[in-house]
Amino acid sequence: MSEVKVDKTLDVCGKICPYPDMNTMTTLKKMEKGQILEVLLDYPLSVERIPRNLKKQGHKLISTEQLDGPNHRMLIEAHGLK
């Protein structure tokens, strides 16, 4: 897979439930259609829950990559304002 150009990075490592999800969603809401958000997170529940909720908001999950341990890197394409 060719490397995607990241427009914005959000680091929610160490944050407690539900901030990883909420910060991701509110950041995506402010982004333009097609922009790419990189999310760095280490909370397993959110790694499984964020993809479910992205779909509902129309955002597109490009990839979820496990780094080391619970650390994950998620790439998401923003849907933009409706």
């Binding site: 439930c17 539900p18 790694v47």
Partner: protein, 335 residues
Amino acid sequence: MEAVMTGLFVGILFGFVLQRGRFCMNSAFRDAILLKDNVLLKTVFVALLVEMVGFAIMDSAGAIAINPKPFWWGANLLGSFVFGIGMVLAGGCASGITYRFGEGMVGAMTAVLGLAVGGYFTAAGFLKPFKANLQAATTIPGADDGALTLHGILGMDYTVLAIIIVLIALVVWFFIARANKEKYEADPGWGWVNTGILVGIVGILAFPLSAAAGRNYPLGITAGWINIVQVIFTGATFNWIGMLIVGVVVGGLIAALISKEFKFRVPKPLVLLQTFIGGLLMGFGAVTSGGCNIGHLLSGIPQLSLGSILAGISIVLGAWVASYVMFVLPQKKEQ
């Protein structure tokens, strides 16, 4: 082997299942309004139905004698409402913060500390008279001065009513799912059906083992943390529920190590203070109401205790009010 050691065994199983299944009632209730995500809520329902079937069969077979909690409407309402607010602040329910302790989440450790302290002072400290008076003043006993239960009110056999409720729930669920054209979507993890069934099985297993150790009740969390406080500070011995908690932490740790998810995660100091205060409220609320989300919701509702049903509703309401104020309102202001 001492009878309390089975608590450790059940606890390890419970912690493992909670960690791998990502089971959390705080998320379950909060997400339903905040993220419009009801996957964990469905897990809770599955666990309740599985337990109800297990308890009903074991009770009629004489393997257990159900022991529903009493109905203290004032204490149930107030205590559980405060508990619900507390768990949103703490970032997890009583079982959630306990297994995340094992995962290395420092915010969960401070929450647990709050839960143990708040629980201890309400059970045996300066808040004890308040709790005892509220419980006594708002008690409505059932028949023969026993606990007020759904089957008691209806004059039915427990097993019969439990099975009827499970069957009705399954039929209603089937039609709701069909009306919503819901398809079962597998989660990346264990999936909500499997997690719910496994949590239910651990709850069923807990009942006779705990009873054999002299504590006639299935799973609980808060009383176990209070026992640990007493072991450390007053030289008390471990009881079954205390051993269960040690097991949940160890089980969470083992599951996190196996899945390479163990990591010390330290939030900001202000967040640590927030989860500690949340824990204090949870401890006060759980002891006042006579149970936390596990003692009342997971273990008490399947026994059809009216107190547990009221406590369960109150926990959900408290969680919703706190979630609305903490998360929904700030979002609305921003828009």
